[in-house]
Each structure stands twice: as structure tokens, then as C-alpha cells.
């Protein structure tokens, strides 16, 4: 007779009976395929989840209804029955002319929002003619050095109607200024335009590593955009707090969740410190998560994210305003999961990852193109990626009911586990004095590096299977896929426009505007108005960033 604890619930007693009567003889006859079953984050997964695993959850308190606190099941009372997610494919390469053409092509194919990828010089605040930009112009995104490039990039795209997301961080306030001036020139009203600026500098220090200034002045620039947008561009999301890059750098799902939300809390705290009203700026904060290979782990992560954010905004900042409590997020499938080997398999990976994002209730989605482990996507690959989303939306039926996996013993138990792991990280980071202090100590960076290393080792041992890489490999792979090649003519083209811009502009006005920006930075004023004025007279990105570098200095990474 098996020993039973006195406190065992009927569900536990019943499970114990099943294990003895049914499971044990089966295991004796046919042992399981391996000793431990793990998620892609290398967390153990139990054989079976039962009511006993969710016994501590309270439906009203922890799960509740869509559109109601704590929003575990989604922020919209109608889910996707009211409105589908925005299909927002990240695109940008070569010249502003080429990217403008790709944008228009994607919109003709039914894409519902735009998302700009900038090249590395732009991300780092250098112009196309900087010696540091050599070999990099237009390679990883579109090259933008001044307002003149931005005007071409959005030519014929009505910014009052289309929402545009911009992936830009260290120089985000400058690109926002360019965007606002282009909108103004089109006759669009700032209080009518919407869109998103990534502007998440904390994750740059943690994972993506495209920084310019030291952390504290960089945080101040972020808060400047919050203040400015709250007053003048109220429908715009001035930040997309991003776990995507944290995950790509090697974090586990729980680390992605914890560090991203703790970053979000840090921005709110800094905003409050600067005198902003929580219920005016937090509703315009958005989030951005990865959709990796482990299907249930990802869905649990999104559900936990909503629940944690709602609770933290209530408990830490005393908000009761629903739009402050509701976490809205964009999702992108995991670039890091795509393989060079047998690249067409990536179409399947992307479809399954995208499905997790949808079942997790994402507000917008980017599906990676199958050729992204090789180069930037071709038109054909980008189209298949968009069609993948349209197939999920229109053919699979998963959009017909809200949070269809809610109530699954496994998923609810995993959602709860994710929340607890994130809260444990919050306690550690709070004890260090917050996220800025934790980053200065190198804490999240080290945690991520360790996870990346353990994952690599698990792949090399064969514990984590990657089809086509460490199992089902082929020595003679079928035909290669065509790839997009960006040559150095892009740089020549961009240098010509930059030279024309420098010749045509009023140099006195540029010098004045840059001086005013330096003064605003020195006096600790909001830098946005002076940035906009500098952009308007065609000061270049590098000139503006250099003016700020003079005042703020540059960041030095802690030693590895």
C-alpha cells in the first residue's frame, strides 16, 4: 500500500492510484525514451499535469476573464474576434528608395503596419560617410543619415493612416524627431499619428549592445521622449520594452520575461521620478517578446507577462487605470532558431512559433523569413512569411475563441511557474538597487551568457535536437536558396545624397541648432524640441549624436 500524506487532496490520491495501477506496469514494459524531458530553456517538464498542479490557483484572482484584471487571458474582451493582430513585417535594407519600394510591396500584399530596420551606422549614430560605417551601409537595414533620407523612406506613405514601428534605440530621439518632421511635411497632425519607437536602451546594455552614451543620460533621453509624446503625440508609443534581443542573446524564457518586465518597471520608476503621471505615460508603453521553439513555454510566458505587469503596476505604482495595467505586446519569431542547413525547414519553425504568439494573444506579429540565417530576406521569402500569418488568421480557426488553451493543467501550471521565476529575479534586482544598478554590476549580462553556454552544450551533447543540424543532417543538401545581396553601390548612392544635403542646407542654422541642443542637454531640459529643430534644418544624425556625446560622454562596457 503506497504511503499517502495526510494532507493529500482527492486529486493527489487519484493521481497516486493512476501511477501505481496504470503507469508503473507500463513503464516496466516500455521505459520512456529518455530520463528527463526539458523545454528549450532546459527546464524539466513533468510527465503529466493534473488538477493537483493548479490547485493553488484561484480562477477569479489568477486567471479571470479577458479584458479584466489580471488580464491573464488577454486585454481585449473579444480577443481576435473583434480585431486580428497587426501583421507587421520588419523590413529595411539598402537605400531609402529600395526600402520604400519593399514597404509598398508588402502593403499591397495585405500587410497592415510597417516596421523599419535601420542599418548599423544609423543604429550607432554614424552617418554613411563616417570611416566607421565602411562596409556596413545599408547591409542590416536601411541607411538614414538625415531628414533627406527619411523623406524618401516615407514618400507616398500617409503617416496619419499607417502605423510605423521603428527599431532604433541609442539615437531613438533623433529618428523620432525625423519621423515627426516628415509627418508634419505631409500635413499629418502629430496628435493623429500613431506608431512605435523601440527606444529601449536598457536591453542594449543587457543584450543587443548598440549603445552610445552612458546609461543614466541615455535613460534621461528615453524619459524625454515619454514627456514629449505624452504632451504632443499622445497616440504614439514612445517605447517598446524588448525581451526579443535578450532571448536571442541566449536567455531562457523565464529570463526574457523577468528582465524585460523589470526593465519596464525601471522606465516607469524613472518616469515617475521625472514628474510624469503614471496613468498618462504608462498606457503608451508597449512590449516586444520573442516566439521561440518551445510552444507551451512561450504561450505561458505571454500570459504570465500580462498578469505580472498588471499586478506590478497596481502594487508598485498604485494604478487602478485599466490601460496602465494592460500589457500590450509585439511578437517576433526567433531568428536565432533558424538554420542555415536545409533552410526551407525554417518556414515550418516560423509557422509554429507564430502560432504560439497568436495563442498567447499578441497585438502584432513579425514572422521571420526562411532565409534570415543566410542574409536579409528576398521578396519571395518575405512574402511567404507574411502569408504564414494570413494562413494562421484565416484558415486554422485558432482565432475563433479567446485564449483557447486557458485552463489546460500544463499551461496554467507553467504560467504560474513563469510568474514565480520572474518575481524571484525581481527580488534579486530590487535588492541590487534596480535594473540600472544590476546592469552596471553585469548581472543580467552574466545570467544570459551562462544560459547561452549551457544551451550550446546541450545542443552539442544532442540533448537539444535541431533538425538538420545535429539530427537528420544531410551531406548533399538540395539546391541553394537565392539570397539578397547588398553591394557597395548603396554607400555611393547614400554619400551623394549626404553631400547634396550638406551643400544645400543653411550651415549657420545647423550650427545654431546644435548649440541649442548642447545647452538643453547641459541644463537637463527636455532635449526633444531642440532635436526636432536640428533635424528640421538638416543637421545629420551623426552631428546630433556627436553634440550629445560631447555633453554625455560614451559608455564603456564592463570587462568580460
Amino acid at each position: 500500500m503506497p504511503e499517502l500524506k495526510e494532507s493529500s487532496s482527492p486529486a493527489e490520491i487519484e493521481q497516486e492510484r493512476w501511477e501505481q495501477q496504470t503507469l508503473k506496469p507500463a513503464l516496466e514494459k516500455h521505459p520512456e525514451r529518455k530520463k528527463a524531458f526539458k523545454t528549450v530553456s532546459l527546464d524539466d517538464v513533468e510527465r503529466l499535469y493534473t488538477p493537483a498542479d493548479v490547485a493553488d490557483l484561484d480562477f477569479a484572482r489568477d486567471i479571470s476573464f479577458p479584458g479584466e484584471f489580471p488580464y491573464t487571458r488577454g486585454i481585449h474582451p473579444t480577443g481576435y474576434r473583434g480585431k486580428l493582430w497587426t501583421m507587421r513585417q520588419f523590413a529595411g535594407f539598402s537605400t531609402p528608395e529600395e526600402t520604400n519600394a519593399r514597404f509598398k510591396y508588402l502593403m499591397r500584399q495585405g500587410q497592415t503596419g510597417l516596421s523599419v530596420a535601420y542599418d548599423l551606422p544609423t543604429l550607432m549614430g554614424y552617418d554613411a560617410d563616417s570611416p566607421l560605417s565602411e562596409g556596413e551601409v545599408g547591409k542590416c537595414g536601411v541607411a538614414v543619415s538625415s531628414l533627406a533620407d527619411m523623406e524618401v523612406l516615407f514618400d507616398g506613405i500617409p503617416l496619419e493612416q499607417v502605423t510605423v514601428s521603428q527599431t532604433i534605440n541609442a539615437p531613438a530621439s533623433v529618428l523620432l524627431a525625423m519621423y515627426l518632421v516628415v509627418a508634419e511635411k505631409q500635413g499629418a497632425r502629430w496628435d493623429k499619428i500613431s506608431g512605435t519607437l523601440q527606444n529601449d536602451i536598457l536591453k542594449e546594455y543587457i543584450a543587443q549592445k548598440e549603445w552610445i552614451y552612458p546609461i543614466k543620460p541615455a535613460m534621461k533621453l528615453v524619459i524625454d521622449t515619454f514627456g514629449f509624446c505624452t504632451e504632443h503625440v499622445p497616440r504614439y508609443n514612445p517605447i517598446s520594452v524588448s525581451g526579443y534581443h535578450i532571448r536571442e542573446a541566449g536567455a531562457t524564457a523565464a529570463q526574457e520575461l523577468a528582465f524585460t518586465l523589470r526593465d519596464g518597471i525601471e522606465y516607469v520608476a524613472w518616469g515617475v521620478e521625472a514628474g510624469l503621471d503614471v496613468d498618462r505615460f504608462v498606457p503608451r508603453m508597449s512590449f516586444f517578446f520573442n516566439a521561440h521553439n518551445d510552444f507551451f513555454e512561450e504561450i505561458a510566458k505571454y500570459r504570465a507577462a500580462r498578469r505580472i505587469w498588471a499586478r506590478e503596476m497596481k502594487n508598485r505604482f498604485g494604478s487602478n487605470y485599466e490601460r496602465t495595467l494592460q500589457l500590450r505586446f509585439h511578437t517576433q519569431t526567433a531568428g536565432v532558431s533558424l538554420t542555415v542547413q536545409q533552410p526551407l525547414n525554417n518556414i515550418v519553425r516560423v509557422a509554429i512559433q507564430a502560432l504560439a504568439g497568436v495563442l498567447g494573444g499578441t497585438q502584432s506579429l513579425h514572422t521571420d523569413a526562411y532565409d534570415e540565417a543566410l542574409a536579409l530576406p528576398t521578396d519571395r521569402a518575405a512574402l511567404i512569411a507574411l502569408r504564414t500569418q494570413q494562413i494562421i488568421a484565416e484558415e486554422t480557426g485558432v482565432v475563433n475563441t479567446i485564449d483557447p488553451l486557458g485552463g489546460s493543467y500544463y499551461l496554467e501550471s507553467l504560467t504560474e511557474k513563469m510568474e514565480q521565476e520572474a518575481l524571484e529575479y525581481f527580488r534579486k534586482i530590487d535588492a541590487m538597487g534596480g535594473m540600472v544598478a544590476a546592469i552596471e554590476k553585469g548581472f543580467p549580462q552574466r545570467e544570459i551568457q551562462d544560459s547561452a553556454y549551457h544551451y550550446q552544450k546541450a545542443v552539442e551533447r544532442g540533448d537539444q535536437v535541431i533538425v538538420g543540424v545535429n539530427k537528420y543532417t544531410m551531406t548533399d543538401e538540395p539546391s541553394e536558396v537565392p539570397i539578397l545581396v547588398i553591394d557597395e553601390s548603396v554607400r555611393t548612392h547614400q554619400l551623394e545624397r549626404l553631400e547634396q544635403t550638406r551643400t544645400r542646407r543653411d550651415t549657420g542654422a545647423v550650427a545654431n541648432a546644435l548649440e541649442k541642443l548642447r545647452l538643453a542637454a547641459q541644463k537637463n531640459e527636455n532635449t526633444m524640441p531642440a532635436t526636432i529643430d536640428a533635424v528640421r534644418v538638416y543637421a545629420t544624425l551623426e552631428e546630433i549624436c556627436s553634440a550629445l556625446r560631447e555633453i554625455y560622454g560614451i559608455y564603456e562596457e564592463p570587462a568580460f
Partner: protein, 134 residues
């Protein structure tokens, strides 16, 4: 056979900040008993070659995912040769299209490791190809 440990400089040239690969490789090579120096981010070819000379390394592992490999990698080889480091191997790891591989090899890159490569293969390559010295 010398007892000198293999010394490797792991380098990140260009503006890209994606350092997951560089750091995983650095740690794997250290675990395999090599001495590893990591340059940190955003190094010019000149800075990388100077560090390679100063640290007297046997190999330079260049991690690059930005598409700038054709400009930056041959330049590193050229600068190393100018400094007389004729035996210093230059390995490249990252996102490099197949059609660029022959040209990179012609320009003196010892090997290009594409995504999906096992760190053990890189360790074995270094052990087999680094020239022993006293």
C-alpha cells in the same frame, strides 16, 4: 611538441553588437584549455591586428554577422601579414553566404564556420592547424 597553450584572440569587428557567438566560443576555447583574449565590441581591423601582435596569439577568431565580412576580414589578414604574423590563423564565424567562401579563403582566411557549427569542431580545427612553436 611544445607545451605552450594555444592562444586565441576572439574579435568582434564592425559596428554590430551581437556578441552571443563570440562569448560562447571564447568560453568553449577556454574550457578546452586554450588562452583566450576577447577584444570587446566595435574593433577596427587595425585594432584587432595590433591586439593580435601584442598578445602574440596563434589564431584570431573573427565573429561577424553584419554582412561586412568581405570588407573587414581580408583587411585583418593583410594587416597581420604586414606585421609579420605569417603563421597566425584567421578564422571567421557568423553569417556568410556560400558564394563568398572561396574568395575569403583565397584572401587568406583559414576557415569559415557557419551557424550550426559545434564548438568542438572549432577546438579540433585549432588543435590540428596551429603550428607548434617553442
Amino acid at each position: 611538441m611544445s607545451n605552450r597553450k594555444i592562444r586565441v584572440l576572439v574579435a568582434k569587428p564592425g559596428l554590430d553588437g551581437h556578441d552571443r557567438g563570440a562569448k560562447v566560443i571564447a568560453r568553449a576555447l577556454r574550457d578546452a584549455g586554450m588562452e583566450v583574449i576577447y577584444t570587446g565590441l566595435r574593433q577596427t581591423p587595425e585594432m584587432i591586428a595590433a591586439a593580435a601582435l601584442q598578445e602574440d596569439v596563434d589564431a584570431v577568431g573573427v565573429s561577424i554577422l553584419s554582412g561586412a565580412h568581405n570588407t573587414l576580414c581580408p583587411r585583418i589578414v593583410q594587416l597581420l601579414r604586414e606585421k609579420g604574423m605569417d603563421n597566425c590563423l584567421v578564422l571567421v564565424g557568423g553569417i556568410v553566404p556560400q558564394e563568398d567562401l572561396p574568395k575569403l579563403k583565397e584572401q587568406g582566411i583559414a576557415e569559415v564556420f557557419l551557424p550550426g557549427t559545434s564548438t568542438e569542431d572549432i577546438v579540433k580545427f585549432l588543435q590540428a592547424n596551429v603550428k607548434p612553436r617553442d
